[in-house]
Every structure is written in C-alpha cells, then in structure tokens.
Amino acid sequence: MNVEQENVRDALAAGKSPGELGFFMPAETAPHACCWMAWAHDDHPEGWGKLLPDVQASMVDVATAISKFEPVRVVAQPEEVAKARAALPDTVEVIPLAQDDLWFRDTGPLFLSDGAGGQIGARMIFNSWGGKFPIWGDKTVAGDLIDHLGLPRFDSPLTGEGGGLHTDGAGTVITTETFLLNPNRNPGMTKKDVEEHLFHLMGARKVVWLPGDEEEWITDGHVDGILTFVAPGKVIVETNPDTTSERYDTTHENLRALEAQTDATGRSFEIAHVHEAYTVEPTSDAMATSYVNSYIA
C-alpha cells in the first residue's frame, strides 16, 4: 500500500467520501485490470435446484469468453473452491470468500478510481433486491472482497445493487426510480437524498432518473436491463417493438425519459436502438430478455 492509498484510507476514516476525494466509478468501457465474477452453488432452499449444473456450466462459458480478453477472478465459497477450480479454465483465478450466488454485478463492490492510480472499494447495503429472498449469504461478500484486496473501503448508507447504476465515468449516473426510490430499498429517501449519496459513493455530479420498471419483480427495474453506455454521451437503449405488449409501454417510457435529459456535461444523449429478445417464449417469470445486459471486456 503506497502513501497515497494510506492517505485515502485516513481521509475515509475521518468521514470523507470517495466523491469528496475526487474518486469516481470509471465507465465499463475504460480499461479493466480484471473481471470479477462469483460462483453459483446451492445451499439454500430457494436456489437453483435441478438447474444448478446448467447454471454452473453457463457461468464457466461466460468466464471463459471474458478470459480471452482480460483476467477473470471468481470468488467462491471456501467449500466450493475445488469444484469451481476444476470447472473453470486454468487462467481463471479462484478466490475463497464466503458467498452465495452468482450475481456479482449486484453483490460485488464498486471499484473506484481517482484517475491517478488511486483505488477505493465501495459498497452499498445489500438486502437481496429489496428483501425478496431469504438469502443472506451475499450480504457481506462485497466488503469481504474489498478487505481481502486491502483497498480503502467506503460503505454507502444506500441500499442497492451495482446493476441499478450505469455511469459514463465522467460524472453522469443513470438509474431508475423503481429501484433506488423503492421503499423496499431506501424508505423515506427523496431523489435529492439519493443524488447526494450517489455523489459521495461514486462521484456522480448528474443523476439521470428513468422511471424504471414496476413489473420487473426481481431487481425492480435495474438500469442494466434498459440501456448501456458505449461512450460518454452515447448509449444503447433497448425497447420492445410489440405494441400489444406491456413491455412496449415500459421500454418506451424509459426511452422518452432519457431523450428529455442531458448528461453531466449538459449534452443530450446520442441513442442507438436495439430490440430486446421479445420473440423468446419466457421459460420463467424472471427471465431476462435483454441484450444491453452484455459486458464490455
């Protein structure tokens, strides 16, 4: 740990926030040191059940694909490390840490940068997507990973998950009302309260609010199923073109809301359009049909 990192740690301990110290969450399009993922296993009754082998195999496929572009590191429950190690390619590192499920975008930390080599690991309170699941194994994994890596750590009082936040790494954060303003996450908080917390947490200077998706019952309308940044000022927005579908209205309301707003630099968004996988017959009521939910390695 160098002197600067120690100073950051001291400043955080003294009550400063990452935002106040000039830290921000870089855009996904910025260069990565690595990609973090989490192992799926089954130690709770409402878990994957019979699907587990397929889930693990798919997760290995994704990890393998990403590892062709950047190092992949997977956190795995200590008792599961051997199984994960055997299933994953040799180039993938496996780190034993108490964890539960594979949604590491949501359960993992946010990695922040000051643009000059400094790093902070930040986390929000994780309450299983608004307390929908009696699964608490992932409540601490983000903090445990930050501590494991020896990074200065910031704990935001916001309750939420990384999948509900998109940033251009230049001060703009896009999120949804159905997610962060939901009483199942942050009861009583106003937009202004949340915006202040997002500044402190990840350096947000402009929060772009989309309505979100009330019908999406797991994440309550995470923005990472609505759009993604491809460059500052440029996003891909996903819509459903079937005018008879409820998804048509929801996706177009989000699109219109985005069109009416500007980013941290005051410019309107340049929007590229894709259709979600609307012709797929859902095999579960939680099925994701999103293409913007891709990963830029």
């Binding site: 409540k139 910031f154 009082p157 309750t159």
Partner: protein, 338 residues
C-alpha cells in the same frame, strides 16, 4: 378543547417494524456512569455497526467527543453534534410520527433523567428537538415527562405502558393516570392505552415497558417470561403477564403473547444490569438482539427468527452496555419513513 395535537392532525407513531429512514443513537459521555468509558463506547460502536449493515445511522455526540467518535465509529456513521448529557436515545430522543399520507412529525416529551436520577439533564431534555430539527420535521411539545422506552406501539392505535413509570411522583406528580393516558393518546395518535403494572423495584427506569413487553406485530406482544419461582424477577414478570392476559388491543383483537426468558444467569456487579431480550431492536430487514454468551441467546434468536422469518437476526455482545442500565432498544431510536 381545541388544542392542536398530533392526533388531531392525523399523526401517529408507526410501529418499530415499519420501514425506517434511519436510526438515531447518542454517544456515551456521562462521567461516572460507566466503569470504563472506552469499553462502553466500543460496545455502542458494535451496536451502531450492526444496525448500519441494514440502514443509515446518525450518532449524536458532544462537540468535544466528535473527533474521538469519528475515529472509533469509522466513516459510515453520520455524526450530529449536540451538548448531550447521556446516551439513551430511546428515552431522551423524540418519538417520530407519520400521517400515512407522506407527512412526518415528532413528539418531544419533557425529560428529567428518569425521575431525576442523574444530573445534569438539560442537554438531554433538548436533544429531542435538536434531532427533529435535523430531520426537518415539526416538533409537537408535550408537558408530560416521559421517555420513549416507557411505551410500545402497534401503529394501529394501541400503546403499552406501565403504572410504575409515568404516573410515578418522580416524573408527573400532578397528573392523574387518566390525564397521562389522554396525553399519550393525543401525542402518539392512539386510541387505547394498555397499562401493565411495570416494575417498582427497577431503580433505573422505574419499570420501562421496553424491558418487559414489546409489540412485534398488530395483536402480538413479546414478553419476558417468569422464569423459575426462585428467579428474582418471577413475581414482577408474573404480574405483568397476568395483566396482559386476555387484553384486547385498540382494534378489539385479543393480544397473543409470546414469552422469552431473560438473561438471568449473567453475572454482574451492576444492580441495574439490563437482562432483557425484549429490549431488542427492529431495523430494515433485520433484528438486532443482545448476545450475553449464555444458552438463552440461541433460544431467543430462534424465537426472533420465527417471529420475523423475512428478517436477518444479528447478535451484538452488550455486556459493556447492560451495566449502564439498558440494552439495544434503550440506546436507539428509529426515524420511520413517511
């Protein structure tokens, strides 16, 4: 009578299990109360961190203690400076109210350090208004001397309290029980006050209900059991249980009672050592309960897990707090969401 009260304006105190905006606490500072101030502060820190895993938390600190509190608490706890005298936010802090339509307010009762047992207490008497001011909500002032630990509410019109406490001459010598009852209804937006005998032998709070009984759902209270007949609390607990038996709440429901043991077997030199598991605290998605390191810990934990299947139960060692006369509930105060 045309007095404007919380009740006349549609406000009521939500139950503890309703969603919180945050929790408020007060940082230990009274000289002479604690065997070791640092140990007490570390235990308060542990409670604060356990709560902060579920919801935001603000610690009220004396200005001169702010830097030390920051160093011990870390960066995740918000600090508010105020010239407080002691560290029991349940009692000195406000009772927050909502109106079910997005409005918020709070009650500031008068505070005299539990019947004048400590001095000074003017800083603590002022802290309820300071907290309500910081929370940016209207304060309704009551001339009743009362503490938040002396009541438990179901949010549906019922209030539990004890005869040994607010009617005590050390607090409200000029008030009849009927007047106290009327004032509690007006200030907490309630329709029915259920009186338990309380605990006249309790030398600290004069039998606060939050060490005896607590609503855990509408129509359902958690109570201290009697223990064996040789338990020094047997008769007190039995009297309270008998008084609760077959009570109905404000909605006319018969109240179901779940009984848990207290931490009878913990050894302590402190006469006021808090042995109550009822004195636990509900947070967003969680229950924060004391761990005394005795076998009853696990039994009570199971009870909480059964009562609150959707909440995670977190246990905190409070052996450095309990000698001060209270537990986790006594040192916390919830700010409910509108």
């Amino acid at each position: 009578m045309s007095r404007v009260t919380p009740k006349s304006e549609g406000f009521f105190m939500p139950p503890e299990w309703a969603p919180h905006i945050r929790t408020w606490m007060m940082w230990p500072c009274r000289d002479g109360l604690w065997d070791d101030m640092q140990t007490a502060r570390e235990a308060y820190r542990d409670v604060a961190h356990a709560i902060r895993a579920f919801e935001p938390l603000t610690m009220v600190v004396r200005p001169e203690d702010a830097a030390g509190a920051r160093a011990l608490l870390g960066s995740d706890i918000d600090l508010m400076e105020s010239p407080i005298d002691d560290s029991w936010c349940r009692d000195a802090g406000p009772c927050f109210l909502t109106d079910g339509k997005g409005g918020r307010a709070g009650v500031s009762f008068r505070f005299n350090a539990w019947g004048g047992k400590y001095d000074p207490y003017d800083g603590d008497d002022a802290v309820a208004d300071a907290i309500l001011d910081a929370a940016d909500v209207r304060s309704y002032a009551s001339s009743l001397i009362a503490e938040g630990g002396g009541i438990s509410v179901d949010g549906e019109g019922s209030v539990l309290t004890t005869r040994s406490c607010f009617p005590n001459a050390n607090r409200n010598p000029d008030w009849t029980e009927a007047q106290i009852e009327a004032e509690l209804k007006e200030m907490l937006g309630a329709d029915k006050v259920i009186w338990l005998p309380g605990d006249s032998y309790d030398t600290e709070t004069d039998g606060h209900v939050d060490g005896i009984a607590a609503f855990v759902a509408p129509g359902h209270v958690l109570m201290e059991g009697t223990g064996n007949p040789d338990h020094f609390m047997y008769e007190v607990n039995l009297a309270n249980l008998e008084a609760m038996d077959q009570q109905t709440d404000a909605k006319g429901r018969e109240i179901q009672i779940t009984v848990i043991p207290d931490a009878e077997t913990v050894e302590s030199d402190s006469e006021k050592f808090c042995r109550s598991y009822v004195n636990s605290y509900l947070v967003n998605g969680g229950v924060i309960m004391p761990a005394y390191g005795i076998k009853e810990d696990a039994l009570v934990r199971e009870t909480f897990e059964t009562l609150f299947p959707d909440r995670e139960v977190a246990m905190v060692d409070i052996k450095a707090i309990a000698p001060g006369g209270g537990g986790i509930h006594c040192i916390t105060q919830q700010e409910p969401a509108p």
